[in-house]
Structure formats: C-alpha cells, structure tokens
Symmetry: C2
Subunit: 193 residues, 2 copies
C-alpha cells in the first residue's frame, strides 16, 4: 500500500555535483548541488539547478561556463561544506585545502583532488522557479588515470562517487554491481516477442 509523502523533491539517488566557477576578479569557487543530471546525448549536455541567491548563479551567468567535479567518498566533508558555505563570504578552496585548476576549455576552475570532472559551456538557461536550470554542453570529461577500467572507460567503482538521498538527507557510497545495462533485460525481449 502506498502512502503519500506530498509534493516534495525526492528521488533516489541524486548526484553530488561540485560546481566550479569563477567569481569577480577571478576568484575560484565551488558549490555542491544535487539538483541536476545529464539532459541530452547530442550535444552531450548536463543540467544543474541553482538558486538565484547563490554566488555560483551569478558567476555562471557572467562567465557562461562551469565545471562539475565529482568528489570521491574520501571528500564527503569537503563536499558537504561546499554546499553550506557561500563563496561570497569565504574562499572555499582555501578553507578546504583543495586546489582549483583552470580549465583549458572553459572559463571555470575544477577541483584537482576529485577523480572526475566535466567542463561545460553554458548552452541554455531555464527559469523553473526558485531554481534556475543551467544546461551546459559537455566539452570534455576528464578522469584521474587511476579511475579508468581496462577498456578505457571511467569506472564508477574506482571513482567511488557519493550519492545523496533527499528526505533522509544522507550521503551514501556506491554498492554492489547488479547487472549490465542493455543486456540483462534481453531475456524479456525473447519472452515478449
């Protein structure tokens, strides 16, 4: 029997995106956001939603660029902090000791210590309500050379990303492998044919 939880923002899982931007005078900033995800395959695009009140919001508008760095589990404290503090008040890179790296492709910094990063050029702005959705075209995805598998793919088990659960508000790691996509469902195609 299903019970109502109301008109709330709850999906499982949400990602933990650390959005990198430059502010005034080139101050690097990072901000954690869970409202986002891939939104198009061609051009490869990712969406992230931010409130207009945030420092990152105005930074993206001004520079028309952002990065998304994916923290590994080891950086859960830093990732959470980057979602609490505002870059208007503090230098979050200085406080955390993390290192901003200037992207060579877009006008935004990413986090050197995080295992994986997307470099994005602003493509669309959608005003949804309290949040503005920024759609970025993904110009490159980079990974530490330690997080690739034997086929040259980025390996989630090596990246060890965080995921977030709204409502309960916990961060979690990635669990066990449960199957290969576009493959394990094929047994039902035979049945349905």
């Amino acid at each position: 029997m299903k019970q109502s939880r109301g008109a709330k923002c709850i999906v499982f899982p949400t990602p933990v995106f650390v959005v990198g931007t430059y502010g005034g005078e080139g101050k690097p900033n990072m901000m954690t956001a869970a409202w986002g995800g891939i939104c198009c395959s061609r051009p490869p695009s990712v969406a992230v939603s931010l409130r207009a009140a945030t420092y990152s919001h105005s930074n993206i508008k001004a520079r028309e660029a952002f990065t998304i760095s994916i923290p590994s589990e080891a950086y859960v404290v830093e990732a959470d902090y980057a979602g609490i503090a505002s870059g208007r008040d503090v230098d979050k890179f200085a406080v955390t000791g993390l290192t901003p790296v200037r992207s060579e492709l877009v006008d935004a910094p990413y986090v050197a210590e995080f295992p994986m990063v997307l470099e994005c050029k602003l493509a669309h702005i959608v005003e949804v309500g309290l949040h503005t959705m920024f759609v970025g075209e993904i110009l490159d995805v980079k990974g530490e050379d330690t997080v690739f598998d034997e086929n040259g793919h980025l390996d989630i088990a090596k990246v060890q990303p965080l995921l977030w659960a709204p409502d309960g508000r916990g961060y979690y790691g990635v669990g066990e492998f449960r199957g290969e996509a576009f493959q394990i469902g094929r047994e039902l195609i035979v049945k349905g044919a």
Copy 2:
C-alpha cells in the same frame, strides 16, 4: 594526472527512472531513462530527457503528464527491459507482469510493484538537441508503507533503488552511509570563520 575521456555523457551516479505514460487509446507504457534529476525546489520539479523518436515522448506531449517510478534492485531485469523495448511494439506491462496503476492526480500510470513513485504534471519542454527535456511539477511522491523510516521520511536503504553508471554501463545498488548532509561539513565552517 587527469586524462581526457572526450565530450561524453558521463556522470556518476545517474538515476534509473521508469517513466510512466499513457499512449493512444489509453495504453499504459513505461520507459527507463537515466537522463534526468530534480531541477527545482519550488515548485518541486523533476526533469527527464527523452528522444523524440520514443513512444513516451509523444505520450507526454499528448497527455501533459508523466510519472516516475523508482525500481528497487529486485527489478533490475524489468527496469533494463523497459529501456530496451518500445511501447510502440509491445505492451511492456504485460511482458514483465508489472501492474499499471492509474494516478489520481495526473493522466499517467505508475508501477504498482516499485517502492516509490512521483506524479508529475508537464510544466516545461526544452529542446536541447537529440533529447527533449520534459520538466514536470511533482504533485505527489508516494512510497510503500514499508520504505519509510521512523521519522516518516522515505528511506533510501529501504527503497533499495538502482543507480546507473554510463561509460561502463553497469547497474549498482546503494552502498554504505557516509554522513549527514548540511551537518558533517560544519567542522570546516568553524575552521573557515
């Protein structure tokens, strides 16, 4: 040292959303999509991106509504199948044996057997490229009475949702708890003050 993986759609994790719609003559359909996520807190909104070629794409446009059912790990085969087969050709509910339930709030069905569901009214359509992004206002989130925690919150550990990893293309479960959001980062606020 970071290596380039190219301009690709890779973030970790992506969700496994099973999108419920009605087709012509009220045929219920479900389609699995990983390109999506929450995109606004007020009004509570979720985005899901689909190719124009899909049955679900035209269904959402016609009915201006969709649901997102979140499969538990136990339904990984059915979830994968729903992303491979097309509702134009088969009745995916009949093939899988899953049960469509008519939403009382929007003109779309959800999956009875899945532990959690969002009922969404179409709010925005954004043409990003190969994919169209459908932004839905979340009118309700429902969960099985077995997946709530003692505080009345939906519990990710009880829902046991799947997550998906592009590039390697594996499905995974949820791993261990790593910390409480808006809490564990506070130690750095003291440091930064």
